[in-house]
Symmetry: C2
Subunit: 201 residues, 2 copies
């Protein structure tokens, strides 16, 4: 059984990641990793679907045991990617998609150099700003903070393998790009150590 592909997708605020990832989810070509968190479930959130909700103690124990591929803290809560689950998906030959920010993506690449890192971007910074402001739900201060962070994230594009542009109203194209990336990576010679062996078997 050929290993599945570990695909990490990062999308700075305003990249329109939600729509693109929803299409990938619906395609059935990927298993989406469910993160673990120590924060309390919100109304309607289901354990094992939205997150694995675990205690602070269990999370720290799993860090120590090496069962978090990557993790971060935010507002006093842990968020992380359970390792065992990820490895089971990959071993089954399915492609695993992790939606993760830049720092976490770098951690994953350090452990799994074979992971494919994709950054989803709006075509320009101007459009990113427009999208963030367009929501009209956030304070100016919060918008500026999110833009600053997005800017810093984009600067790290060289750590990624692919950049996919999500043009307004064309999220389907971005989803197709991502599917093509997976299909192409599966044909990559450097990913296959046994081409000759299999061919001459």
């Amino acid at each position: 059984m050929e290993q599945g592909l570990l695909v990490v997708v990062s999308g700075p605020a305003g990249s329109g990641k939600g729509t693109v990832l929803k299409e990938l989810k619906d395609s059935g070509d990927f298993v989406f990793s469910v993160s673990a968190t120590t924060r309390a479930p919100r109304p309607g959130e289901l354990d094992g679907v939205n997150y694995h909700f675990i205690s602070h103690e269990e999370f720290e124990q799993r860090i120590v045991l090496g069962d978090m591929l990557e993790y971060t803290q935010y507002c006093g809560n842990y968020y992380g990617t359970p390792k065992k689950e990820a490895e089971e998906v990959l071993a089954s030959g399915k492609n695993l998609l992790l939606e993760i920010e830049v720092e976490g993506a770098a951690s994953i690449k350090a452990i799994y150099p074979e992971a494919v890192l994709v950054m989803l971007l709006p075509p320009t910074y101007a459009e990113q700003e427009e999208r963030l402001r367009g929501r009209g739900t956030e304070t100016e201060e919060k918008i500026l903070a999110r833009l600053e962070q997005a800017k810093a994230e984009v600067q790290r594009i060289a750590e990624y393998d692919y950049v996919v542009y999500n043009h307004s109203g064309r999220s389907h194209d971005a989803a197709l790009d991502l599917m093509a990336i997976v299909r192409a990576e599966k044909c990559s010679v450097t990913r296959k150590s046994d081409i000759l062996e299999k061919f001459f078997s």
Copy 2:
């Protein structure tokens, strides 16, 4: 204008290259390079369509002038890829497909490291042999010679970027693989030197 992609496809005898390349041609996503040759046109062959038919003297002059990307001699005739034409296609943003054997592919990669090299293979050597014998039009001696050459070509797979398997009756899948490879390569971060510049423009 973004440069087109230079895609080199090699397929050892029995790989079913013809069917796959025909589908790519029909897709309109590629310009197929027309080789130059010094051999005489066969009945029905058109200059500029099947080949550029040129004289021995002109071919050698163009070699000297550096206007052949790669060339080879076979049965006393030259065959080669005109450079100027290739560069014009790429500059226009179109993808150029060269169908070329392993030695020529290596020459191209040496000059254009950004070229994408794809080897099309039957799933196994046994199937390759079956396909070659299945034609029933060649002498045993000729079949063995072709198999030996195909074997030697496959051994050089590590010089290629991608391997695409052409399973019997599934040449459409192989064509889709090739199209995905092009789409993915267009998203490759290492191919884009100006991501940040464009983003913050």
